[in-house]
């Protein structure tokens, strides 16, 4: 369980998060949504320990973040890397670097590291192009390599910051399925999502952020019926039945 209590964060004088409190439990897929500049990325950075909150406390399995060494924390919480800034190395090499928190001082990959890399590549369906230079792959392939790196890090808490941005629609569904599969294994998956319909369709809980404050933190059904999305995003959200499945439409506000 990751618990955030009364977090405040600001860049200079501009407050980004204001009195943020929430907890994230294992076995659930969380979607964080909100308009641009609402503090989503900052929240993810705080949750994975990249930045420290100005005020408030973060705890992981009832222990404050500060008791973990940086490598210990990296064995608990992982963050999907940004695909925009990858060096020109092979996918396999990149995924291997995801095992960094498990390396000893010698920095050699143990057999279990190599096994984890192969398993992660297979699971992310990236084995076939793992030997190629990642800077030469398509956006979708690169994203699968990054997913494999995340899987290789093998942590109980998995964070993703807008993972679907560079993907076309079918890859988006595939990635959401992968996140669901991680949740099925009992992991806690937290993703910042731009695409509201993906969030509503796949997530177990949705956290709506507006100007650094939690507007709502609930199941998709309750989020939808409460009308909070309509208000925060200034639009009109409708659920419709298509072939017996619930789909979501977003219309401009009349």
């Amino acid at each position: 369980m990751i618990e955030a209590m009364h977090l405040f964060f600001s860049y200079g004088a501009r407050p980004v998060l204001r009195d943020f409190s929430a907890s994230f439990a294992p076995g659930l897929l969380y979607g964080i949504v909100g308009p641009n500049g609402c503090g989503k990325t900052t929240l993810i950075r705080l949750l994975c320990g990249l930045s420290a909150p100005r005020e408030g406390a973060l705890s992981l399995d009832a222990m404050p973040y500060s008791v973990f060494s940086s490598k210990e924390l990296a064995r608990k919480v992982s963050l999907m890397p940004q695909i925009a800034s990858l060096p020109p190395i092979s996918g396999e090499e990149l995924v291997g670097r995801g095992r960094y928190p498990y390396w000893g001082f010698s920095g050699r990959m143990s057999p279990s590291d190599l096994q984890a890399v192969q398993y992660a590549l297979q699971r992310a369906e990236a084995s076939s192009f793992a030997h190629r230079d990642v800077t030469k792959l398509s956006g979708g392939e690169r994203q699968r390599i990054c997913l494999a790196m995340l899987l290789a890090q093998d942590t109980p808490y998995v964070l993703l910051d807008e993972p679907t941005t560079y993907l076309d629609i079918s890859h988006r569904f595939a990635l959401m399925e992968q996140m669901r599969a991680l949740r099925e294994e009992g992991k806690c998956v937290i993703a910042v999502l731009h695409d509201l319909s993906l969030a509503l369709r796949y997530c177990d809980r949705i956290l709506v952020l507006e100007e650094g404050k939690v507007q709502s933190f609930d199941t998709p059904e309750n989020i939808l019926s409460s009308g909070v999305l309509d208000r925060v995003f200034s639009l009109s959200c409708r659920a419709v039945e298509v072939d017996g499945r619930r789909e979501y439409l977003f219309l401009p506000k009349e």
Binding site: L50, E72, A74, P81, Q82, L86, Y100, P101, T135
Partner: protein, 346 residues
Amino acid sequence: MSILRKFFTPNSSDDRKHGRHAPVLLCVLLLLMVVFFFAALCFGSTSIDLVAAIKEVFSGKSDSPDARILLYLRLPRALGAVFAGAALAVAGVLIQGVLHNPMAAPNIIGVNSGAGLGAVLMLSALPSAVAFLPVAAFFGAILACLCIYAIASRTGGSRMTVILVGIAVSSVLSAGINTLKTLYPDSVYDADAFMIGGLSGITFIRLLPAAGLILLALILSLLFAREADVLSLGDDTAKSLGMNVKRIRLILLSLASVLAGAAVSFAGLLGFVGLVVPHICRFFVGQNHRLLIPASALGGAVLVLVCDLLCRLIFAPYELPVGILLSFVGAPFFILLILTGRKRHD
């Protein structure tokens, strides 16, 4: 032209190729280093009978002119070329890795000038403490490194901005060296050769402490190769993988400063080794520092050995400081790098 473009574009590399060819490349470089090392002992303004001279040196009494030339002139000079080349090339690899900037060579962003300033300051203030010269040069180099790093991270400037700021820092530090040279004209032996970088007049007394430091720093750099790999993924990713980014960055910059400082302390402000060699090696072995560091060390040694040999032979019996030739090779390389880099980023 497309081959040229491919060569100068670091992203155009297939890693599968690198893994296979790397051991071969390392062996070839090692062989080249040995060959040119012996060539450097053999050839010069006078040719000597190497075998006889070596025998004489090993027999303990080196009385003949050949043996004296070998032992007191050519051997320290060849060793100096090996150590200076290896140190400056690896310093380039490390600095470029930390700054994520393939153009950030130690001579361009002022690390060499910083080391030079430290060394000249020491020579002016305490002319007798020659053994501590590499230490003084280290402090000058790390000052320049941290200065550039602070500017790069504070401003979040582009790669080219960092290079331009580095050039400015470099000129300030060089101005400092020139001031000291003017105030204490006797402090630096052959000051002109020191400014451009040269290997003439190297003695074992000046070489050995620096060589020891270089050897130590090279071994430590190899131990931190994996860290350098992870750091090259970017600060955020490295941090989220559990790396103490600040500490590793400081360690890598310190190692680069030890290497550049030690090299400058006996070879002067030798330029462009740290730019040309890492770039060529990256093309062949890729971004894996475990291969890149040894390949660059060997490649740097070969480059400086070859250039120094040419400098002694082209106008024999006169000789050029090796830094001149390196500038003739390196500066056009730098310009090409800027031009091809432009095309890629714009």
